[in-house]
C-alpha cells in the first residue's frame, strides 16, 4: 500500500500569473511522457520484471507520483486566481467550458491521457529500454518547458524535475547491466 506524506518533494514556487504556462505544463501531467504515464508504467511493469530490479521500478514509480504532485501544484497555482479573460487569452477557454479550473489528465494540446501511452511487453530488456527512452523523452520535454518560461522560480522547479529524469535514466541503465550479468558479479566500467 501507499501512505501519503503531506509535503512536496521539492519546493514549488511560481512568481508570475501565467495561465498559458499552466496549459503547457499539462504535457507533463497527462501527456505521453508525463509523470502519470511514468508512475503507472513502472508500477505496472514491476510485477513481471526479474526480482533483482523490482525494487528499483517500485521506488522510481513511487517518486514519479511526487513529481506528478509538483506539476499539479504548478498548474493549480498558475490557474486558481486567473480571471476569465486571462484564461481565454491563454487559450484555456475550451478547458474552462469543460472543466472550469479543475485539473484534467490531458496533454498540452488537450488530448486526454490514454493507457496506450505506456508499454508493458513482459520482456525485461524491452521494458527497461522503454523506461530509459521514457526518461529521456521526459527530460527533453522539461527542457522545452524551461525554454518556454522566463519565470526563474518555475524554471528552478522544472530543472529539479529534469535532473531527476537524468538520475532515473542512469538507474534504469544500471538495471539493464544487472540483468546482463549472469554470475552476480558487479562490474564497474
Amino acid at each position: 500500500m501507499w501512505v501519503y506524506e503531506k509535503k512536496l518533494q521539492y519546493p514549488v514556487r511560481v512568481s508570475k500569473c501565467d495561465p498559458h504556462m499552466a496549459k503547457l505544463l499539462l504535457e507533463q501531467y497527462g501527456g505521453a511522457d508525463g509523470e502519470l504515464a511514468a508512475a503507472l508504467r513502472y508500477l505496472n511493469q514491476r510485477y513481471t520484471i526479474p526480482d533483482k530490479v523490482i525494487g528499483l521500478l517500485n521506488d522510481i514509480g513511487t517518486e514519479e507520483f511526487a513529481h506528478l504532485e509538483m506539476i499539479a501544484t504548478m498548474v493549480y497555482k498558475l490557474t486558481k486566481d486567473a480571471t476569465l479573460e486571462q484564461l481565454k487569452a491563454a487559450g484555456l477557454d475550451p478547458h474552462y467550458v469543460n472543466h472550469d479550473r479543475a485539473l484534467f489528465y490531458q496533454n498540452a494540446a488537450g488530448d486526454p491521457w490514454t493507457a496506450t501511452y505506456i508499454q508493458a511487453k513482459g520482456d525485461p530488456i524491452a521494458d527497461l529500454y522503454e523506461d530509459i527512452a521514457a526518461e529521456e523523452k521526459a527530460r527533453a520535454t522539461y527542457q522545452w518547458l524551461i525554454d518556454m518560461t522566463d519565470d526563474v522560480d518555475l524554471q528552478d522547479s522544472l530543472k529539479f524535475l529534469r535532473e531527476r529524469e537524468v538520475v532515473h535514466s542512469l538507474r534504469f541503465r544500471e538495471a539493464v547491466e544487472i540483468l546482463k550479468d549472469d554470475r552476480g558479479t558487479k562490474k564497474f566500467f
Binding site: D147, F160, V166, V167, L170
Partner: protein, 72 residues
C-alpha cells in the same frame, strides 16, 4: 566531469529556405550517457545543495539553461 554536456552542429542552409537560417543548433548529451554503472564512493553534495541540484552526486549533475530570450 568538466566535459561539455552540449553538442553543436551546423545544419545545411538551403537557398530557398523562407526564414532567416538558424546557423548553429545544439542538443544535450547529459552525464548518464557516459556513466554505464555508477562507481561507489563518489563525492557528494551536502543534503541542502543536493536538493537544489536534484542529485546527491556532482558527477550526476546536468545543468540546463532556458533558451527564452537568448536566440540570436
Amino acid at each position: 566531469m568538466e566535459f561539455s554536456q552540449v553538442r553543436v552542429y551546423h545544419p545545411f542552409v538551403g537557398p530557398f529556405d523562407p526564414c532567416p537560417p538558424i546557423l548553429t543548433k545544439t542538443y544535450q548529451t547529459p552525464v548518464q550517457l557516459f556513466i554505464p554503472f555508477q562507481p561507489p564512493n563518489l563525492p557528494q553534495f551536502n543534503p541542502q545543495e543536493a536538493l537544489f541540484k536534484g542529485t546527491l552526486w556532482p558527477a550526476l549533475y546536468s545543468p540546463y539553461e532556458s533558451k527564452w530570450g537568448k536566440e540570436q
